[in-house]
Amino acid sequence: MPATEDVLIVGGGGAGLRAAIAIAETNPALRVAVISKVYPMRSHTVSAEGGAAGVVGADDSLDEHAYDTVSGSDWLCDQDAVEAFVEAAPRELLQLEHWGCPWSREPDGRIAVRAFGGMKKLRTWFAADKTGFHMLHTLFQTSLKYHDVKRYDEWFVTKLLVDDGRVQGVVALELMSGRIEAITAKAVILCTGGGGRVFPFTTNAVIKTGDGMSLAYRAGAPLKDMEFVQYHPTGLPFTGILITEAARAEGGWLVNKDGYRYLQDYDLGVPEPKPVLRSMELGPRDRLSQAFVHEQEKGNTIETPYGQVVYLDLRHVGADLIDRKLPFVRELCLSYERIDPVSELIPVRPVVHYMMGGVHTDIDGATPLGGLYAAGEVACVSINGANRLGSNSLPELLVFGARAGRAAAEYAATAKDPTPAVLAQGRDERRRLEQEFLRRADGSEPLSGLRNDLQSVMEASAGIYRSGDSLAKGADTVRELQERFGAVALDDHSRTFNTELVAALELGNLLDVAEAILHSAERRQESRGAHQRTDFPARDDENFLAHSLAYREPDGSCRIDYLPVTITRWPPGERVYGR
């Protein structure tokens, strides 16, 4: 039975579009399609602000970018993947420039680069402070050039079709009409992003619900390093809206209620009037977020109706530089906080921003499940290890999107056709969706209540600092929530653009993500990068210089296994910032 598509890419953000273009360029004969629950230009890549790192300076080198990434990751990344990544990043960013991306420039016309957290040299390319927006729109508009790339716009994938040990397509719901179809494909690439919405305060859009992670998890592929959740140090208090790291790179200071640059108390260097690379406000995100928690415990943070905050001070940076390099930051503060950063302090707090963990892939984006690939935030290669450096994730989309695209294309070119069994699976899934959600009239659990309960328990048990107790309790609560989810009440039984149904399916995905995070975190009895255990405060390379792999067992339980980290040239050392 012929497949409908050769390669089906789930998710139309930076990674998904880059993969589609890569396939259209290297193998135009293949039928490639992008299926996404939102139009591609709505993908969350659009809200990335700061920049994308790629070595261009004469005084910079690939080794230095690699070392910064390796030490930033607290040695949990796979160094072969990092080496491949830093080598390919400049080339990918240049390719994007050739496709029209409006990178900011030096006066002589060359690409401009700026400083960024955790990087020893200036290597972050940027497009004002809307880098993700420009990258996504460039990729989307370029993808329109390739007429063979088909798009399923506003289709929600609910399940991967697996038979004969390989993935053979998906089951998806067309939002507009409510029809549920099996779309067969020889290879599937997951580019669905992370799952920040499992926490209550996040920079993430509402669409970031870990859909791809859950799809892979339920299909039997492992989720790697899920316990590593990055808190971005500067998010606005009520909305969680991101205030880019670039604000600190251009000279912003983090001060507590006494106007004191408190980071100097946390082994991050000495305060200087101008930003110093890898020091103070340009330290790595995990250390900065942890410093906030300590300041809060000491009572040095400021109380607001939306919790404790510290201040980001941009007043000394000057209106001219803010309008040139941080115009979007100024716009956001004015709209959402009614504050002008030129003359006032911006209230900020750490908010969940990125998931270092995700679907386990190799250096070419292949998961252990045949025919299944993943790239972008949904995947864990891993280049980010226990903590990601700012401006590494945008080039990650390009580098691994392209690699996964090419690898999936090669696989699909010689893969067998789908088996008839998957069509039966498709019909079963359609029946399940109709019975459990659409036709159900006896639900008792309100959807928003369940979601709030999940987010609260994640914040309490798996926040910046965790303990064995909080994690175990959290895992129990999540199990309870999963049961309660079985009785979720839906008001909307329509087939036409039923967003309540989508929200319910997304909540199911978030519950899977939460389960993987909590179990992985409980088993990792050490502190490393973004995973900080109050009961195990030290890094334990002897036992835990390894990736956690979370598997969903056939009986529904979660099994944790370990995979050693690949070390090539940089043996584990101490992470030093500000010295």
């Binding site: 798009r151 067309e174 507009m176 779309i183």
Partner: protein
């Protein structure tokens, strides 16, 4: 299951809101736009009037005098006043919109939009002064 699912390009149950003939009364900006477009009728009227005037002048003193008597009628005067108001509106909107439509460079930098606007008014003042001098002074 259909064997070739694709994006549904059209669905009969989509609701298309009808647009009323009076759509332009719905918003102040729409009304101003329609008035601006209608003002071109006034421009056309003045052109016609000017041609008739010139023809009357060319036909000699007597004909010219008869023409002036005819247009002295209160309705014609009112028409011309209304047309003058519309033409002024036409000019003001035109001058104010020009900077949006034209980006002028001088010495490598963009000329500021307010300058483009003001320079048109200045030019109009100069031409008007000249015409007034022709009619009154000379």
């Amino acid at each position: 299951m259909s064997d070739r699912p694709a994006y549904t390009e059209f669905h009969p149950r989509w609701y298309r809101r009808p647009i009323s003939t009076w759509w332009w009364l719905g918003k102040r900006t729409y009304l101003l736009f329609i008035l601006r477009e209608l003002s071109s009728l006034s421009v056309a009227w003045f052109v016609v009037f000017m041609l008739l005037l010139v023809r009357a002048v060319g036909q000699g003193d007597a004909e010219y005098q008869r023409f002036l008597d005819r247009v002295d009628h209160p309705l014609v005067v009112l028409l011309n006043l209304v047309a003058l108001a519309f033409v002024t509106f036409h000019m003001v909107t035109w001058f104010n919109l020009t900077p949006q439509a034209m980006v002028i460079r001088a010495g490598g930098r963009r000329v500021r939009p307010s300058w483009i606007m003001v320079s048109q008014y200045v030019a109009w003042l100069i031409v008007s002064a000249f015409v007034v001098w022709l009619l009154v002074g000379a």
